[in-house]
């Protein structure tokens, strides 16, 4: 069986498994939300400040919130069966449109954060491993321990205090300058300035994880017989490290990155809130406050789909990195 065929089979299997998984997630999520007190009608009433009992009731009827719980659930399934995530009660807009408007923001933030975490973590871990037990190793170990143990939101706040408030280097929130450049190099620099702090905040925690993992993987890879073979071939130390140590250390790192995607999505919510970053996390936070269940369920569904897709991709990446791993 060719590799491409195996990859296709693996994708198909992942897809088939995703359907029951997402069904369970939606159902569980639906019941969990029923446990929270209040509903969107209460919220809208409170927002407007003066609403009569009748007015609130009319809202409930309009949103279908007066129906029995199971009927509401089946109505939601019915929506899903028609590839619709429903309508947001507050905005009257389709939930799918609202989420899709935010998905790129979250993906961008996560992507940059993963890239930052991988690059910094890999560099730190490699330095630590090659200078193992020496001073740089100890200092970087200490630093990564700090990154690892300090909560994300606090790192975010401190970065704002330092880089936005005191140094004024980066903006403290948002995704772009309102009325700022909309194309070209200026646009890129503008976006870059806005994403630096949130991505760093989200990534630093993972920098620590990757640094520790890379250190262990490189030290482990150095002991392998094939590294001795590479030296015996007369390769320069730099080539031995790059081609035979680091290349082989990539496999466990890719595996861990795949496993951490879900956790990172959770972290993104906190970071987006701290930096007012327009992503799914902020949307979720607002939806919880407003008790907008269709929006929240929609986000849950899209997030789980993202995680499932990411895991499938990392499965394939894993098999590309290590020919011994069969895409099963």
């Amino acid at each position: 069986m060719s590799r491409n065929r195996r990859i296709l089979l693996s994708l198909r299997r992942n897809l088939l498994q995703a359907i029951p998984t997402m069904f369970v997630i939606v159902t569980l999520g639906f019941f969990l939300m029923q446990l929270a007190p209040g509903d969107v009608a209460d919220y809208i009433a409170a927002e407007t400040g003066a609403a009569s009992e009748e007015g609130i009731h009319a809202l409930r009827v309009q949103f279908g919130l007066n129906l029995p719980v199971l009927e509401q659930l089946f109505a939601y399934y019915d929506n899903l069966a028609h590839f619709s995530l429903g309508i947001s009660p507050r905005y009257g807009a389709p939930v799918s449109d609202m989420i899709m408007a935010r998905v790129p923001g979250t993906l961008l933030l996560m992507g940059v954060a993963i890239a930052v975490a991988l690059l910094l973590g890999f560099a730190m871990g490699t330095t630590m491993a090659l200078l193992s037990r020496r001073l740089p190793d100890r200092l970087l170990s200490l630093l990564s321990l700090v990154f690892y143990s300090v909560p994300t939101f606090w790192i975010g706040l401190m970065l704002i205090v330092l880089f936005s408030v005191h140094l004024g280097l980066f903006p403290s929130g948002g995704a772009r300058t309102i009325g700022g450049p909309s194309e070209g190099w200026d646009w890129f620099v503008d976006r870059l300035r806005y994403i630096t702090l949130p991505a760093l905040t989200l990534g630093l925690n993972y920098v620590a994880i990757y640094a520790r993992l890379t250190r262990a993987a490189v030290i482990e890879a150095q002991r392998h017989d094939y590294v001795r073979t590479a030296i015996a071939k007369g390769l320069t130390p730099a080539r031995v490290i790059r081609r035979h140590v680091l290349r082989n250390a990539l496999t466990p790192i890719a595996a861990l990155t795949g496993a951490k995607v879900a956790g990172m999505l959770g972290g993104a919510i906190v970071v987006e809130t701290v930096f007012s970053w327009p992503g799914m996390g902020r949307l979720a936070y607002e939806a919880i406050l407003a008790r907008e269940y269709p929006v929240l369920l929609g986000i849950l569904l899209v997030s789980s789909a993202l995680v499932i897709v990411a895991n499938a991709l990392f499965d394939i990446l894993q098999s590309l990195l290590d020919p011994r791993v069969e895409v099963s």
Binding site: D225, R228, G234, T236, N248, T251, R324
Partner: protein
């Protein structure tokens, strides 16, 4: 290219002068090589033999500067007149892979699993020459052809795990000879391979030596092997040279007591030795007060030597289960999920009481699956097994536990098969407790004494013992329930030859003493010849040949048996 101090071809290619290597690492410290002198002449194969820990691999690694960190090295390693000790890293790197090639014991782990073999072989060409990618590929194809890898055009893009063990070692050799080095260092190149593959690889190395005019430094623990494949032999022990001999008369001219000990402990098929006629000589080294080693050679007397004449019970041809047999196996088949053919394919045999039945075969022949199936350790087994006339294949629960008292197993790896968190007392005592046997302490002490371990071993953990001692613990554990049938799965293949002799002597003694019937599994024909009364040969899950211990070697019937014998003679 290094500067040649000696353009004449008279001096040795490689000369070690007073080489000393000592380790100072958490896992290993002390002197590994203590003042070694040797020469490898141009075009010759010099073998360095000795048992584990004697410093032979350390010597091989020190030539190319491959020793781990925390190692101290002194003395001289003269290659073509230039001293490799303390040579500038760039100059040493220019020699590695170009003037001196090296192959290692374990081809699977010595090749990088994430690159194709073609790329790994080409890497050495690109490193030392300005060859184009296309020319490198052509040269790699040539090399694969030269080392006898079938279908090179296809195999060049194979990953190491897609090749057999022998092919992987061939790929390693192709890498080592790619730039026509003048010295090839082969560190136990065939230890991880089957005997028929072993011979092919050694033939290949020897052929390449003549073809390319190389010298070969062959590191091995196997005396019969170095006798056949080298010109001269240096025998090492505790980091020192015991003596240098011409390989041709290694077995006759060795005068040093340690060499004599190794020789008499090594069994060769052609010696036709058998446990009923002689015990193996055991060599023991003692460090005297002045740090000198003294070697003691003695042959223990055989305790009972009259079991070979036990009446020959009906063989596997007789119909129906044989109640008088110790173990009777009919149509045993083991099928692993996803495998395209059964690992064990309809095997039938009878193990008579008080007999040893030898089972030989190469890796993957199904011999270990067979032993595990008999022990009821694996699922997917069909067929009949009867132990002392009782059904074992269908036994369940308490019945199976009861049956296991009568059949026990000694495993190959004495490191992996003992629980590292249990003391020897627990390892031996727990089976007794499980079967509700009283006076455990007393029985454990007796058993330890019987296998030659001190009584104080009770409170110690397996890692505190040497390999040979651990195998003694494994044997004691198997014997503590006084079983009737003992299955030994490669019990000596992880051991040094002098330890192997001790363990084989011990097995021969206890077999007679405890009235055991033994199924002895090994890939080593000479060992099987020594311990067995009857011998079966297994290939691809089937028993292809059966005979008594003398006739099967003298007049083998099956071509596979012939091939096995040809590979070691």
């Amino acid at each position: 290219m290094m500067h040649r101090l000696d353009p004449g071809m008279t001096s040795p290619l490689l000369q070690l002068r007073n080489l000393r290597v000592s380790y100072d690492a958490p896992l290993r410290n002390g002197v590994a090589v203590g003042g070694l002198d040797l020469e490898v002449e141009r075009g010759e194969t010099l073998a360095l033999v000795g048992e584990s820990g004697c410093g032979k691999s350390t010597t091989a690694l020190s030539v190319l500067g491959l020793l781990p960190a925390h190692t101290e090295i002194s003395g001289q390693i003269l290659f073509d007149g230039g001293d490799l000790v303390g040579m500038a890293p760039e100059r040493l790197r220019a020699l590695r892979g170009r003037q001196i090639g090296m192959i290692f014991q374990e081809p699977m782990t010595s090749l990088n699993p994430v690159y194709t073999i073609g790329r790994q072989i080409a890497e050495v060409l690109h490193e030392h020459t300005d060859i184009s990618a296309a020319a490198a590929r052509r040269r790699v194809l040539e090399l694969l052809e030269q080392v006898g890898i079938p279908d090179p055009a296809h195999r060049i893009d194979a990953y190491p795990h897609e090749l057999s063990g022998g092919q992987r070692q061939r790929a390693m050799i192709a890498m080592a000879i790619a730039l026509r080095p003048r010295l090839l260092i082969a560190d136990e190149p065939t230890t991880a391979l089957d005997s028929t593959t072993q011979m092919q690889i050694l033939e290949l190395i020897d052929g390449l030596r003549r073809e390319l005019g190389m010298s070969v430094l062959l590191i091995s623990h196997d005396l019969p092997l170095v006798r056949a494949w080298s010109d001269r032999v240096v025998v090492m022990h505790h980091g020192q040279k015991m003596e240098t001999l011409k390989s041709r008369d290694l077995f006759e001219a060795g005068r040093h007591p340690y060499t004599r000990g190794l020789i008499s402990a090594s069994i060769r098929l052609s010696d036709e030795r058998h446990y009923t006629t002689s015990r193996l000589a055991e060599v023991r080294a003692h460090r005297a007060a002045n740090d000198e080693f003294r070697f003691e050679l003695h042959t223990p007397p055989g305790r009972i030597a009259a079991t070979a004449s036990a009446p020959d019970l009906p063989g596997p041809d007789a119909a129906g289960p044989d109640a008088s047999a110790a173990l009777d196996v009919r149509d045993l088949t083991v099928r692993y999920p996803g495998a395209d053919r059964p690992a064990v394919d309809g095997v039938s045999f009878t193990l008579a009481r008080n007999q040893t039945l030898g089972l030989v075969g190469e890796s993957g022949s199904g011999k270990s699956s067979l032993s595990r199936a008999i022990m009821r350790l694996i699922p997917g087994v069909t067929g009949e097994i009867s132990l002392l006339g009782k059904d074992l294949a269908g036994a369940q629960g308490a019945g199976l536990r009861q049956a296991r008292r009568h059949i026990q197993m000694v495993f190959q790896d004495p490191y992996a098969s003992l629980n590292p968190r249990q003391t020897v007392g627990d390892i031996l005592g727990n089976p007794l407790k499980l079967h509700g046997i009283a006076e455990r302490g007393e029985r454990v002490r007796q058993m330890l004494d019987r296998v030659g371990l001190p009584a104080s071993s009770v409170d110690r953990y397996p890692h505190e013992f040497s390999g040979g001692q651990r195998q003694r613990i494994g044997i004691a554990r198997a014997l503590i329930l006084q079983p009737d049938v003992l299955i030994c799965d490669e019990p000596v293949s992880a051991l040094d030859v002098s330890i192997q002799a001790q363990i084989l002597n011990l097995l021969a003694d206890i077999r007679a003493e405890f009235g055991l019937s033994m199924l002895f599994i090994s890939h080593d024909l000479a060992v099987v010849q020594y311990v067995s009364d009857k011998v079966m040969v297994m290939q691809r899950g089937k028993i292809v040949d059966t005979g008594d211990h003398t006739t099967i070697w003298r007049s083998p019937r099956h071509p596979y048996t012939k091939a096995l014998i040809a590979a070691v003679n």
